[in-house]
């Protein structure tokens, strides 16, 4: 026995050691519970951050668009008798491709916002790409590469060629290249619906991870797109990234309120994804709660039994001058120690399970299914949660032990 340990520690550790089978089983139970929490939390966090990463490497956090065109009747439509004409049909107007009014001023204002990281103007529209007899409908996105590639990490998705975008260059998807039978260096004729027509050289092929996207998406220089789409000097959208991705919706609303433009945040455009994330979070919290509850009941039941088993010893200790407070602390400590030990074991099991998952749950190409979030904070939180649960669970048995009448306890 160490002379340096306080009384409560010595007695708590010895009581736990004496009931070693009980201690072993409850520690194993806590460990399994904590392992489940650690594994599931890391898996779900990894899944979420992987989704978010995939979404946000392919789109801006906020996209600014010109206000939608609405039909405005010139005045009240009157019936022949002079009264208002009921059931008048007001047809929604077609949404023409148009530039954002005063876009350079708007871009400068948005760029000046402290929450904003990158602002990239875009001119995009539909066109036809023609090579020989073949033609395909494409989406032409005109970008300033220096800005846009900080929003969409296109260089990472290149499979052939470079991301060079001079006014006569075009970047196309691998599937479009395959459909048209072109390679890097080949020329393509691009015709826009508005009459613009240019021959561009393929400088690179990219893979966005989706066949439809690879078939339709093409990138050209901003000036090329403006010329092709008849938007000379104008832009059809402004892509924006913010420093805190979860603040995107609030920033978007502020931009709309201040400038009247339509501002779509990634949160609003991926509402279903967020609903799924919320559902995952709720289920994860429910699982954590019920696991913590079962751990708490496990610890409490073991300590209740321990108080009954040790009531004579408690009576003896009280007769020797041990206070109620000291007895209370002996049992609280046992609860805390059970929680702590179980959570250390559980965290280790969880970590091993996560490493095994990372090693064996692979895509067909051998890459991890998705990167897991193995963060130290998760383990610290699990340790704290289990230890505090242990302390809380021990409170009722500890109180019972402290309130034992020593005369009755000694008599047995």
């Amino acid at each position: 026995m160490s002379r340096w340990m306080p009384f409560e520690w010595i007695v708590a550790l010895r009581f736990l050691r004496e009931g070693r089978m009980q201690t072993l089983f409850i520690v194993a139970g806590i460990a399994i519970g904590v392992a489940v929490i650690v594994f599931m939390s890391a898996l779900l966090t990894g899944l979420q951050s992987n989704f978010i990463r995939r979404v946000l490497t392919a789109q801006a956090h906020i996209q600014l668009l010109p206000p939608k065109e609405v039909a405005r009747p010139l005045g009240p439509v009157r019936a022949a008798g002079g009264g208002p004409l009921e059931d008048a049909i007001i047809q929604a107007p077609l949404q023409r491709l148009k530039s954002i009014d005063q876009w350079q001023t708007l871009a400068a204002q948005v760029r000046a916002m402290p929450e904003v990281a990158v602002v990239s103007p875009i001119a995009s529209g539909s066109a036809l790409v023609i090579r020989g007899e073949a033609s395909r409908a494409i989406s032409v996105i005109g970008v300033d590469p220096a800005l846009y590639f900080r929003i969409v990490a296109l260089p990472e998705k290149m499979v052939r060629g470079t991301t060079r975008l001079t006014p006569s260059d075009i970047l196309i998807g691998t599937d479009l290249a395959s459909d048209l039978g072109v390679a890097v260096g080949d020329k393509l004729r691009v015709s826009a619906a508005g009459g613009g027509d240019q021959t561009l050289a393929v400088t690179g092929l990219f893979d966005l991870g989706s066949k439809p996207a690879n078939q339709r998406t093409t990138y050209v220089a901003l000036r090329t797109a403006q010329s092709l789409l008849g938007l000379v000097g104008g832009v059809s959208a402004i892509d924006v990234t913010v420093k805190d991705i979860y603040a995107a919706e609030a920033v978007a609303q502020r931009i709309t309120a201040a400038n009247g433009v339509q501002a779509d945040s990634w949160i609003a455009t991926n509402a279903q994804f967020f609903t799924a994330v919320q559902a995952q979070k709720t289920s994860n919290t429910a699982i954590r709660f019920f696991v913590a509850l079962s751990v708490a009941f496990g610890i409490a039941s073991v300590l209740v039994v321990s108080v009954v088993q040790k009531s004579r010893e408690i009576g003896i200790l009280r007769a020797m001058g041990i206070s109620r407070g000291q007895v209370l602390r002996v049992f609280l400590l046992q609860g805390g120690l059970l929680g702590l030990t179980g959570s250390v074991g559980g965290s280790s099991i969880g970590l091993v399970a996560l490493l095994l998952w990372q090693r064996y749950a692979l895509n067909p190409d051998g890459t991890p299914l998705f990167p897991l979030a193995i963060e130290p904070g998760l383990f610290v939180a699990s340790l704290l949660l289990a230890t505090l649960t242990g302390l809380a669970a021990a409170f009722a048995p500890a109180l019972r032990a402290a309130r034992l009448d020593p005369v009755v306890a000694i008599r047995g």
């Binding site: 026995m1 002379r3 306080p6 009384f7 010595i10 010895r14 009581f15 050691r17 004496e18 004579r312 010893e313 009576g315 003896i316 200790l317 009280r318 007769a319 020797m320 001058g321 041990i322 206070s323 109620r324 407070g325 000291q326 020593p406 005369v407 000694i410």
Partner: protein
């Protein structure tokens, strides 16, 4: 005149207070125990000896009357103060030794000191070892108490009761379960502590041979003292 170690005045104890089956088991006990006095308590089973000892040992409270330990009136003390007074002033030796089974002999003797901040120091282990030496168990100090014989266990209990050097020792039939030789050895240990350290001892026994060796004998019959 020195303050008596224990002073009871008109102490009464009733159980099931206010209920139909209320029973008074001590009926106005007056008792004084001076420093260094070795007093035998005798009486038939159920006469109230253990209740008296529990009250003197501050494990139970009297229903009425006054109890002073070392001159301090205990009636108004709260549980914390009573516990502290008990720890510092009273040593217990029970009939069934009541040692802590999971601990060694040395740890059992150290236990009262471990729980008290004023005694918790480097010298605890040496003091416990010296006490075990004094009861003839120097070779058993690291043995689990469950490995010791009944007589040895009771000697460990005696050593433990002396750990805090209390002025009062309460022994509730400590020889009741021992053979004659062991009973005699335990009695002698208590007598020695009484002589060497001037402790007052209240010694409950049914053994007339042992009570005859005490300074004074009091008899408890039906909850009253017979002198």
């Amino acid at each position: 005149m020195a303050e008596p170690v224990v002073c009871l005045r008109d102490v009464r104890k009733a159980f099931n207070l206010g209920l139909a089956n209320e029973t008074e088991v001590l009926h106005g006990i007056d008792l004084t125990l001076a420093r260094g006095e070795f007093c035998a308590v005798m009486g038939p089973s159920g006469s109230g000896k253990s209740t008296l000892l529990n009250i003197v040992g501050l494990l139970d409270r009297p229903t009425s009357g006054s109890l002073r330990i070392g001159g301090e009136e205990t009636g108004a003390l709260d549980d914390h103060a009573l516990t502290r007074l008990r720890g510092h002033s009273i040593g217990f030796v029970f009939q069934y030794h009541n040692l802590l089974a999971g601990f060694t002999a040395l740890e059992n003797v150290m236990m009262p000191m471990l729980g008290d901040a004023t005694f918790f120091n480097d010298g605890m282990a040496q003091r416990a070892a010296a006490l075990l030496d004094s009861v003839g168990l120097s070779n058993w100090r690291d043995s689990r108490v469950t490995e010791l014989s009944g007589g040895q266990q009771q000697r460990v209990a005696v050593a433990r009761s002396l750990a805090m050097a209390p002025p009062l020792l309460l022994a509730d039939e400590p020889t009741g379960n021992l053979d004659t030789k062991s009973a005699d050895a335990v009695f002698e240990l208590l007598r020695k502590a009484n002589r060497d350290h001037g402790m007052a001892v209240l010694f409950v026994t049914h053994n007339p041979l042992l009570s005859a060796r005490c300074d004074r004998i009091i008899r408890v019959v039906d909850g009253r003292l017979e002198r």
